[in-house]
Amino acid sequence: MRILLPLALAALLLAASAGQTIVVADDAESRDLVIKDHVFSPAEITVPAGHRVAIHIKNMDATAEEFDSSALKVEKVIAGGASGTVHLRPLAPGRYKFEGEYHEKTAQGVVIAQ
């Protein structure tokens, strides 16, 4: 059992060293996305595979929307009339669906990485 304290310390050190690699990401590209009448435009966003991409989202509706995608691992509330930015990790080529969680019927879109 005594080995557990050094083990915990080693784990903390590992966490600290992981912390040092945390830097503000340099996005290769950015895309704009607008929400209006609970619809995304454009509904299809093409991005280069393997690069970080920032998506600037502007919500033109009076009500809040949650930009939600488990494929992209992103969830973000954009208040009514507000903007926000999500940072996509480098993606493998493919299609990644996203949706507005508060208006799933109309707010649908897809990120295409190629």
Binding site: K73, I78, A79, P90
Partner: protein
Amino acid sequence: MLAALLIVFREVIEAGLIIGIVLAATKGVVGRGRMVLLGIAAGVFGACLLAAGAGRLGAAFAGNGQEVFQAAVLAIATLMLAWHTIWMASHGRAIAQEMRALGGAVSDGRRPLAALGVVVAIAVLREGSEVVLFLYGIALSGGASGWGMVAGGALGIVAGGLVAALLYGGLIVIPVGRMLSLTGGLITLMAAGMAAQAVAFLQQAGFADALSAPVWNSAAVLSDESIAGRLAHSLVGYTAEPDGLQLLVYAVTLATIWGLARAVRPRTRPRTHPASRPRPAAAE
């Protein structure tokens, strides 16, 4: 109305599970009901504030204020859960001995109780602010269908509360000793899951770039969108496609809490099974 019910249900159930586990873990501790109610009240109040200030918060940190805020409150919740687990490990035997000497009466459960109250408040705050924003949006758009959706939302809250109550009911019928070590384990896993989720928010904000490639994809077995996937997410931090950094932080959090709890646990071995959770099975 059904859509509204489902959306609200999904949010409420996540906070509800956390409250259910906290209630089970503190069964028999004096003052826990007040602590949980206070936590819920503070969380609801905070959720309304957070919803009202969502626009301003979102604009902070170059449009990433929300992620920074979420990561910060998740980190606080992780620390509180860790503190509770470690505190219990170090005081467990002392409390048990005292109880044997004095014949009953819990002497002190207050410090970990406060920590758990904070965790409840944060859970309600996080999920509640989304419910408030969603329902407020419906109210703004108005109309007859609007009221149907508000009714759906209200039913969603009730349904989420019922599931939490079921979990609590299921946990407390387990024999107390085993139930407490089970909830202790769940709390540790929940802490690790919250730490990994905090990392995910920092990644989404673009603050954490290392090890961002997914390590596996188990969506075919348990998808993030399914209700079961969401339950597993709030309970143990499950995600179908974890990346390296999230896994690392998850493992480090688990190892740290477990290691520290072991390190502070009094050395002498109890004759029966190791009483990691010594709280009494006092009747409610």
